[in-house]
């Protein structure tokens, strides 16, 4: 800021200077925190990094008795549960957002938006308990048997439903990311100028065509941003996943088999971990950071492509 306005420091009042300094220091603190975090994690994971090298990422065992550690089952579990969460959560969220932004009369929109935003603030342990006591029986008794009957011939739904598996974890994650994705997407759609809608309508478009042509394509980058926020939550979610995913060190394509995510592995084992295991858990943290980074960069590249394809960018969140 100061670089662009070289004289600003002199022309600013004392209040303004104080303001700029305080916000700058807070922003700088965030950056410093991220760097410290990464540096400290890599430092503390040194023992594990030098012991296992790249084999850590491809190793399948987590055996404190023999001091052999690998991250692959947990990377797998994280990616699978997050993917399920996005596949279910994003379409539902867009539906909610379209209704709230385009169709709902104000007397419904305001309270409903408020409720959706409120859901984002529910602690994850509450979602986890709800999943264990309310969602799990429904999944085992009604939903999973249907999937087994329909898709039991694929490796994805092979086995006996137990209700502590990647599928249930993915569903609860989807439910958890919906409030965030829906409310941010709604803001993006609300920010689409009415002139866009009017233009589409004047060309004879129906309401659904207007939504698709004018609103969704205009707000596309905002919706992608919202989905990335949801993905971030799904990848890092710990409590609710630990309570539903079954915590098994297992790579299985069947969504009905238990698995384990990186975050839940750390939560489960941190308490008593010592020595090499502690170092390996910290390296899991590093891997989680890298996976989150890769996923974000990939998503940004996708957004970049879409932004080029659609010249009318905007719809800031």
């Amino acid at each position: 800021m100061a670089a662009r306005r070289p004289n600003s420091l002199f022309s600013m009042g004392r209040k303004d200077k104080l303001f700029e300094l305080s916000v700058m220091s807070v922003a700088g603190l965030t950056l410093a925190l991220v760097w410290l975090l990464v540096a400290k994690m890599i430092l503390d994971a040194q023992q594990s990094i030098s012991e296992f090298g790249i084999g850590f990422v491809t190793g399948g065992a987590w055996d404190p008795n023999r001091d052999v550690y690998g991250a692959l089952p947990f990377i797998f579990g994280t990616l699978v549960t997050s993917t399920i969460a996005l596949l279910i959560g994003v379409p539902v969220s867009i539906g909610i957002a379209v209704y709230l932004s385009e169709l709902a009369p104000p007397w419904i929109r305001e309270p409903l938006s408020f409720v959706v935003e409120l859901l984002a603030a529910v602690p994850s342990v509450i979602y986890g308990l709800w999943a264990m006591y309310a969602l799990r029986p429904v999944m085992v008794d009604s939903i999973e048997p249907v999937f087994v009957a329909l898709f039991g011939w694929t490796p994805l739904f092979d086995g006996q439903p137990v209700g502590l598996d990647k599928f249930v974890a993915g569903v609860i994650l989807a439910i958890m990311i919906i409030p965030t994705v829906a409310s941010v997407s709604k803001e993006a759609m609300r920010a689409v100028p009415d002139s866009q809608r009017e233009a589409a309508l004047s060309l004879g478009a129906t309401r659904s065509e207007t939504t698709r042509m004018a609103v969704l394509s205009y707000a596309r980058s905002g919706i992608f941003g919202a989905s990335i926020l949801g993905l971030g939550r799904a990848v890092g979610e710990t409590m609710a996943v630990t309570m539903t995913v079954g915590n098994a060190n297992l790579i299985s394509w069947s969504l009905l088999d238990p698995g384990q995510t990186m975050a839940s592995l750390i939560a489960n084992n941190w308490g008593e971990a010592q020595g090499l295991q502690l170092s390996a858990l910290i390296e899991i943290g590093v891997v989680l950071f890298i996976v989150a980074l890769i996923v974000n960069v990939l998503a940004r590249l996708v957004i970049g492509r879409f932004m080029k394809a659609v010249p009318t960018t905007g719809g800031g969140i």
Binding site: K15, L18, F19, S22, V23, V34, A61, D63, P64, N65, R66, E117, A120, A121, V122, P123, M132, R136, P137, Q160, V162, G163, L164, T180, S183, V184, E187, S221, G222, G225, I228, L229, G232, R233, V235, G236, T242, M243, G246, N247, A248, L250, D257, P258, Q260, N268, N269, G271, E272, A273, Q274, L288, F289, A292, N296, I303, T313, G315, G316, I317
Partner: protein, 387 residues
Amino acid sequence: MREQDIQSSSEPDDEIVMPHRGGGKAFVVLALVVAATVVIAAAFAAGLLSTGASKESVTITGAGATFPMPLILKWADEYHNETNGKVKVNYGGGGSGAGITQIKDKHVEFAGTDAPLSASESAAYSLVHIPETLGAVVVAYNEPGLSSLKLDGPTLSRIFMKNITVWDDPAIGALNPGSTLPTDQITTVVRSDSSGTTFVFSGYLAVVSQDFDSLYGQGKSVNWPNAIGASGNPGVTQTVKTTPHSIGYIELAYAIQNQVQSAHLKNHDGNFVTPSPDTTSAAAASLGTLPSGDGDWSQVNILDASGADSYPIASFTYILIYKELYNNQTKMNRTAAEALVDFLWWAVHSDGQSHADEMYYAPLPASVVSGNEDTLNSITYNGEPLR
């Protein structure tokens, strides 16, 4: 679109991006928040530094194994009443490993652990072992229609190694003549967190099965094949109760209090034994001479103990304290050191042990109590014995 930094670990509240709101007073609020944070942090730091034991009352702090935690908390409560509020005992749990780390670092005055220290460790730190109670690990199962289940060690280990995957396996059938066994797949339920319960259970499997010993071994967490992991004894109990066709292992108290069905296990003498405090005590009574408190406890083992009524998956759980309470830099004064030794004396004798039975822990056999007396009599403060 505005650039956003997305961190996987961000809190849910942070993820809703609020629309920008201008406001000249923003920095005032910000400054106030920063100032308040600093003031509160300073107050906390000052508070922590000045917190010391007041003259009348003594606080003893421990941490470690969660296995005996309900009993230790009960003791703390009863002892607090019995001393008219003079002695307060805090026990933080956190797990055996955490307890050992904390007593080595001298952050606590006593530690609870289910796994004894190695000979070199107890010598290096001059810590003594005080076995304070006995626990048993129960094989809990949920198979509708199977009201009674008998298992032996080798079959149990094959179930948890996934060599036996269905309930109507011939090995289970041979142990349960007359029962109609269902054809369902067995779901094994284990602890997802590191735990003393797993240490005891895997220790038993390693004793009775060579294969288990070489493939998995005894440990506080085990690389179980394809098992559902649940956190803590309550988690495993709940999972077994709500998952048909499952089998898991939990501490005796949880099994009794939650009315989970438990398997009868074949003991060393060939009898099928129901898990209970009495059969657990019977296992401990089978022991010969025990080491002294400052000796090597790492070889003490009551798994698969001999004796007609001995329950095979039983174990001591220990309290660790320093042999010399003055030189350990725990900043313990003599009053606190005396209170610690008196509390433990009270706990291992009938006053404390009577609570063990009512909470489904097995009371210590007389031979173990007299060993503990010798140990507590040997504890010194600045070279002087405390009792």
